[in-house]
């Protein structure tokens, strides 16, 4: 898609439906797996949907296409949203999502690049994705200074506590990598609690600015705002970009939302104060189907 593509209301609604489908797949695959992460994947479904269905140059039928943009998932534990998006985009059958985390599956608990088409790297141990995206951005600049390829690096917010992130930020700023766009999932939670309690990281935007990044903050569930932010990031010259996407953990299933205890639990094994374990999967799917029904009635 070209720079600063305008999205019509109809297009936005289509993307919202797609994100809703992806969220339903996430619930189904996590429930079947019996383990895995719920909050991050649900929270990032809008960002992934917009990227794969509206932004990225890619070809699901030719995953190794040289001219594709690269999407590097740094916080590998949110891979259910990546797998679900890749399947819905046509990289592999949607039914295969139900093999997540099972023996012999291509859908490893954390991504393994060589196992599944569409993956650009293996990840799980936090903090390494930005460095890899920088390596790709540097390699592309050496090979083709006029390249229109973008390297998108998706990270969590708790992940920013890793020192390697800031080693990488130094280099990205120094090298003025305008083909690098980082998107931070700012959902405010991590395993042990809320990021503000575990390790406060504000002022975050100023931190990135001081490393010479172009910084934008955006509502991570507003497709139009996200699309505009990515368009602006693509147009930045002489600086890497970071988009701090403010998201709601477990977005779309209100009874799971904003609760850090959903970070690493699947439906059926999450906290029970708002819905009992035996009902969690069923309630989540019901909530999502209800939400899908409202997409056509609200303004996009």
């Amino acid at each position: 898609m070209s720079i600063m593509q305008y999205l019509t209301s109809q297009e936005i609604k289509k993307l919202e439906f797609k994100a809703n489908e992806i969220r339903q797949s996430i619930i189904e695959m996590l429930t079947e797996a019996g383990s895995g992460h719920t909050a991050g994947p649900l929270g990032m479904a809008d960002v992934f949907t917009l990227l794969y269905f509206g932004i990225l140059k890619h070809d699901p039928k030719n995953p190794d296409w040289e001219e594709r943009d690269r999407l590097i998932l740094s916080n590998g534990h949110i891979c259910p949203v990546l797998y679900a998006t890749l399947a819905h985009a046509g990289y592999f059958p949607v039914e295969e999502l139900l093999t997540l985390r099972k023996f012999g599956s291509r859908l490893q608990g954390h991504p393994h690049r060589q196992s599944l088409p569409g993956l650009e790297t293996s990840s799980g141990p936090l903090g390494s994705g930005l460095s890899q995206a920088i390596g790709m951005a540097l390699a592309e600049r050496i090979s083709n200074p006029y390249s229109a390829k973008f390297m998108y690096c998706l990270t969590g917010d708790g992940e920013l506590q890793e020192g390697q992130i800031w080693e990488a930020a130094f280099l990205a700023g120094k090298e003025k990598l305008n083909n690098l766009i980082m998107i931070v999932d700012r959902n405010g939670i991590q395993i042990d609690g809320y990021t503000k309690d575990v390790m406060p990281m504000e002022p975050l935007a100023e931190k990135f600015e001081s490393f010479n990044f172009d910084v934008q903050e955006v509502d991570g569930h507003n497709i139009r705002a996200l699309n505009d932010a990515i368009g602006k990031a693509q147009a930045v010259y002489g600086q890497p970009s970071v988009i701090i996407a403010h998201t709601i953990a477990s977005k779309g299933v209100d009874v799971f939302e904003r609760d850090f205890r959903w970070h690493g639990n699947p439906p059926g094994k999450g906290p029970e104060d708002r819905v009992t374990k035996d009902k969690q999967a069923e309630v989540a799917l019901e909530k999502l189907r209800t939400l899908a029904g409202t997409i056509n009635t609200h303004d996009a």
């Binding site: 293996s122 460095s131 890899q132 390596g135 390699a139 050496i142 090979s143 390697q164 990488a168």
Partner: protein, 328 residues
């Protein structure tokens, strides 16, 4: 008898000395000229690791990464993902010492075509002391699937290892030394990844036979020790294993079968390095007595390189003693 392809008249008095890092510097420049995909990243040690020759010739293919070794490994992985052949250079203590997990996940698990250059390996780093003397690097790298591990003997072998690494598709680790060490091989000596080379053959008239397996720059001490053993009536041969992983199992098995016992020699902890690899392999297929020369579960310290090699039991006399002991 010394192998034909070695330098003539090898002796402690006459041998020429040069650091293995020089061979890497020359090899990298040559690899860069041969293949435009070769790139280099260094962490503020460009001169010391000898990456500077490449950086001066190809400034647009060189990245100065600053003091950041975790980033170094993963940037290398990213560049390899887009078709580059990155050489990532630092001191072995920091890469792979500090960034082992990044190497494991982003290079080895991805089977990324990255060449990891660990300079200043061994106690022969000298006066900098134990913090800068990597003597565990072979062990931690050998444990990684997909990883090739090489310890070149001298400047010429380091150059050949660099060129071979550039050609090989997949992750490679090789270690280099800081101090000037004996130049034993010649530009014509054979080198191939995964192939051991016979460097000294025993006098077959002697009844007792010890096979000495060396890696890295202790090859010279090993050769001198073999000559000394033979002068004193013990048949001794030397098999040089530059590639510790994959191990040349065929040659190693034949070598063990020809001798009464084995000595391994490395400038590394005796656990997990060459001695470990040889013992693991032979115990399964041809159990034999093995004596491991190397650092005995200790840290190094400041001192002159030769002094430290002696002190930690890797000098010529120590290898001779190990050869006698293992035959008892």
């Amino acid at each position: 008898m010394f192998a034909q392809h070695l330098q003539p008249n090898l002796s402690p008095e006459s041998v020429e000395k040069s650091p293995t890092r020089n061979g890497y510097g020359d090899g990298l420049l040559e690899a860069g000229k041969r293949d435009e995909h070769v790139v280099a990243i260094c962490c503020d040690l460009t001169g010391s690791t000898r990456t500077d020759k490449f950086a001066d010739e190809f400034p647009n293919r060189f990245v100065q990464g600053g003091v950041a070794e975790q980033n170094l490994a993963s940037v290398g992985s990213g560049m390899a993902a887009l078709g580059k052949v990155p050489f990532i250079a630092s001191y072995a203590m920091f890469s792979p010492g500090r960034n082992w997990e990044q190497i494991r996940t982003t290079i080895a698990y991805n089977d990324a075509n990255v060449k990891i250059v660990g300079a200043h390996a061994g106690v022969s780093v000298g006066p900098d002391g134990a913090t800068h003397q990597a003597i565990e690097d072979i062990a931690i790298m050998r444990a990684l699937p997909n990883m090739i591990v090489i310890a070149p003997a001298d400047e010429h072998e380091a150059r050949k290892a660099t060129l071979a690494a550039a050609k090989h598709v997949g992750p490679v680790y090789f270690r280099l030394g800081r101090s000037a060490t004996p130049v034993v091989t010649t530009p014509d000596s054979p080198f191939e990844i995964g192939k051991a080379v016979r460097m000294f053959s025993r006098d077959e008239s002697l009844e007792r036979k010890v096979g000495i397996v060396s890696t890295g720059s202790l090859l010279f001490n090993t050769l001198m020790a073999a000559e000394e053993l033979q002068k004193n009536g013990v048949g001794a041969s030397v098999l040089h294993i530059a590639t510790i992983k994959p191990l040349d199992e065929e040659q190693l098995l034949a070598f063990a079968q020809e001798h009464d016992a084995i000595v391994t020699v490395e400038e590394h902890q005796v656990t997990g390095g060459l001695g470990g690899a040889v013992a693991e392999f032979l115990s399964g297929v041809y159990p034999t007595k093995i004596s491991r020369v190397g650092v005995q579960d200790q840290f190094g310290q400041s001192g002159d390189p030769d002094e430290l090699v002696e002190h930690y039991g890797m000098g010529i006399d120590s290898i001779v003693a190990a050869g006698r002991r293992v035959l008892e």
